[in-house]
């Protein structure tokens, strides 16, 4: 039995086109525009059903981000695509050749790369405006700030300047995935407004605007309203145009650790 298993494993390894002698280079050797194109085609055929055609995620992880948890560098990304991730639904692309695996890797990397944009405005002035306007009261940047709103440490690598400008002008136009404000009245008549942390059929967990965390059994509540599309973030429409440019430039410059 054991022997059969070993035999089968080696037979499969041969088919998987995995050369055990292959030394994985640190950088992707197949990242030309042609490779990228070929990688996109393979990705659409074999990966997009879970990860979305642009890596926007679905059943599989969001790939349109600069840092991939299981693939911090190109060599790690190659291994993930070739072998899959044990203990998850991510299968290995074992019918891909080594060259094709690199092509897919090139495409995956391109999904998470938000090009450095040339934006008008001065990032260091923007940083001062960020401070003066109290943005840090709700947003963490590099470990500092409040946690009601999304962390912004790497926001420049994740979002375009256009998106950031839109959100500054009209925060409710593009809310972060899964963000929901709720208003509720407890059994003893207290009014609470906050961000939903978690929810199931029977219970809901909320953090209010001053940071208190609550957990409620739904039938115990007198009222529960979900403010879909609402955000507690103020609009910065009234900011002079130059200052908005500075603020956007600062946000674009936030790209986490190099």
């Amino acid at each position: 039995m054991r022997l059969l298993g070993i035999f089968l494993a080696s037979a499969l390894a041969a088919l998987a086109q995995v050369d055990p002698e292959y030394v994985i280079p640190k950088e992707n050797p197949s990242a030309s525009p042609e490779d990228l194109k070929a990688g996109e085609k393979l990705f659409l055929g074999q990966c997009a059903s879970c990860h979305g055609p642009k890596g926007e995620g679905g059943k599989g992880a969001v790939l349109g981000q600069p840092r991939l948890r299981h693939a911090p560098d190109d060599a790690a990304l190659f291994v993930v695509i070739r072998d899959g991730i044990k203990g998850t639904d991510m299968p290995g692309g074992y019918a891909l050749t080594t060259h094709e695996t690199w092509q897919v890797a090139a495409y995956v990397r391109s999904l998470g790369r938000m090009a450095h944009e040339n934006v008008p405005g001065d990032a260091s002035r923007g940083r001062e405006i960020f401070r003066a306007k109290g943005c840090g009261g709700c947003h963490i940047v590099s470990g500092e700030g409040g946690s009601l709103g999304p962390e912004l440490t790497e926001i420049g690598a994740k979002r375009s300047s256009k998106h950031l400008r839109t959100v500054l002008m009209d925060p409710e136009k593009e809310l972060p995935e899964g963000f929901l404000m709720v208003r509720l009245v407890t059994g003893d008549g207290r009014n609470i407004r906050g961000v939903r942390l978690n929810e199931d059929t029977f219970t809901i967990q909320v953090r209010d605007t001053s940071g208190h965390v609550y957990s409620f059994v739904k039938p115990d509540l007198k009222e529960l309203h979900k403010d879909e599309g609402k955000s507690p973030m103020p609009s910065f429409k009234s900011l002079p145009a130059g200052e908005t440019d500075d603020l956007v430039a600062y946000l674009v410059s936030l790209r986490g650790k190099p």
Partner: protein, 524 residues
């Protein structure tokens, strides 16, 4: 040494012979086949736990597995021993009084074997003195029921081409029927039966016909070669007619039908096969020329129902395409059907049960918004039919999604999808447990859930329906009215079917949640 004596001192229950007659009779003290009984009703005649005392239900023991893969087993119980399959195809026998393991068969999936999804396993079969498990590398293995030692090992299909086994096998009189998965790899689907004693293949039914066979003309060009139509969920059995009922999966490639014009038989069908020979008695196709990956591998439920004033033997089928069907069990004729979950692709069903298609539901390069999404109105997780309340219970989903069409180039062992999927931004994936009139599909009641549950339901003579949630809740509803009676937070997503049985004369309910089996009993 001391430990050994301590164990030896316990009153051990010895596993006995699980004869075909025992499975056929379906004594509710055991749970001897995937859906409890051959009719696949997932209904138990036990009523010790009932609507008036279920509030006292408490966890009795927990068994944890070491794998991180999705734990989707539906355990079997014979003579107080629980047989649990684990990801990949490992099996553990547990004493239901203490939760302690009696033996373990460890199956290591060879490196390099990959199916469409993680190496899940949904359960075992039992017959005589053997336990049968299908493995992720597409073997069917017979284990000695007393020790877990391998008696025989049969290779069902070549895993290198994307074939795998995730379903529980089904034991007939002297044969073990087993289905296979791999519909995302352009495989050719089939259903197999093996001699229970020797492991020799007794028959195979190819779900995609070969040239010259009936049905081949429903595939254009060479498309039948990569037609898929896999058989990855356990079916039902009618011992009186000796007919195996089994659902089939989507045609390949999933979302691009340009090169497989035609109805694509026998994809998305219910098959009625002779138990001795595997010969086709009849088929019913739910979704001809499927373009949305709506496998018809849901569990077919055998029951009697009065349809349009006439009492009949029927098959009840809650399909992934969001329609509920009532079929005549002897002829496969369509008797009734209607949608039970949100759908935007068909105007309804015609007199023969064929969907009347709505325009603009086909996948496109930009993406077409369609309800249900790829997960379907329901999926592989089991429904339940309760003959006492005369209701059909199903975990229903009301979510839509974007279907994208892309190129599909067949390459052995590679995914062969022909497109992709996108969620609808900002739309919640809602669902409910629904109770339907079995003869019509009309809604009797629903219990709304925060999100569409990927777990099956169990109904009992205690007027209870047990259900679960993605958020880890295991709960009991009043079977007549759908009112919540009890719930327990297990701490992990539930993607499995519940079972119930007697242990030492006391009723227990078991469910796999997260990476554990939770067993509940009344607090005494």
């Amino acid at each position: 040494m001391k430990l050994f004596f301590a164990i030896a001192a316990l009153p051990l229950v010895l596993p006995g012979q699980v004869s075909y007659e025992r499975i056929r009779q379906g004594d509710p003290k055991d749970w001897l086949t995937y859906s409890g009984t051959y009719d696949a009703q997932r209904f138990s005649r036990l009523d010790k736990i009932n609507a008036s005392n279920v509030k006292r239900l408490r966890p009795l023991w927990v068994y944890q597995i070491k794998a991180n893969d999705s734990f989707e087993t539906s355990p079997l119980i014979a003579d107080g021993i629980m047989y649990v399959s684990e990801p990949g195809g490992s099996v553990t026998a547990l004493d239901t009084v203490t939760g302690r393991s009696l033996w373990k068969y460890r199956h290591d999936v060879p490196k390099g074997v990959r199916g469409c999804c993680s190496p899940v396993n949904r359960g075992v079969a039992i017959l005589g003195d053997m336990v049968y498990v299908g493995t992720f590398d597409a073997h069917l293995i017979a284990l000695d029921i007393k020790s877990g030692i391998v008696r025989w090992d049969a290779e069902v299909a070549d895993p290198k081409l994307g074939n795998s086994i995730t379903a529980a096998p089904l034991a007939l009189k002297d044969k073990i029927v087993v289905g296979m998965a791999g519909g995302e790899y352009g495989v050719r689907g089939f259903l197999d039966a093996y001699d229970a004693k020797t492991g020799k293949r007794a028959w195979r039914f190819w779900t995609v016909p070969a040239k010259g066979e009936p049905g081949f003309e429903t595939w254009s060009g060479d498309s039948a070669k990569t037609g898929s139509a896999t058989t990855w969920v356990t079916g039902a059995y009618d011992p009186d007619q000796n007919i195996v009922f089994w659902g089939t999966g989507n045609p390949g490639p999933d979302w691009n039908g340009d090169h497989r014009l035609g109805d694509n038989l026998y994809s998305d069908c219910l098959l009625a096969l002779d138990g001795d020979t595997g010969k086709l008695k009849w088929y019913f196709q739910f979704t001809p020329h499927d373009l949305h990956d709506w496998d018809s591998t849901e569990v077919p439920v055998l029951a009697e129902a009065t349809v349009r004033g006439q009492k009949r033997k029927v098959v009840l089928f809650g399909n992934r395409n969001a329609f509920y069907y009532v079929l005549d069990r002897e002829s496969g004729k369509f008797l009734a059907g209607k949608d039970y979950a949100k759908q935007t692709w068909a105007k309804g069903l015609d007199d023969s049960g064929r969907p009347i298609l709505l325009p603009n539901a086909e996948p496109t390069a930009e993406g077409t918004k369609v309800y249900p999404d790829v997960g379907g109105g329901t999926n592989w997780f089991s429904p339940s039919f309760n003959p006492q309340t005369n209701l059909f219970y199903v975990s229903a989903h009301d979510a839509g999604g974007y279907f994208l069409k892309g190129e599909a180039e067949y390459k052995p062992g590679a995914q062969f999808n022909g497109g992709g999927l996108k969620p609808i931004p900002g739309e919640d994936h809602i669902g409910a447990i629904r109770a339907l009139n079995p003869a019509t599909g009309d809604l009797k009641w629903e219990f709304k859930l925060h999100s569409g549950s990927w777990a099956g339901v169990l109904s009992t003579a205690g007027n209870l329906v047990f259900g679960s949630s993605n958020e880890g809740d295991f709960y009991a509803l009043d079977a007549t009215a759908g009112k919540l009676l009890w719930r327990f937070q297990t701490g992990g997503p539930i993607i499995a079917n519940p079972v119930t049985y007697l242990s030492d004369g006391k009723q227990q309910v078991a469910i796999a949640a997260g990476n554990s089996i939770f067993v509940f009993a009344l607090d005494e």
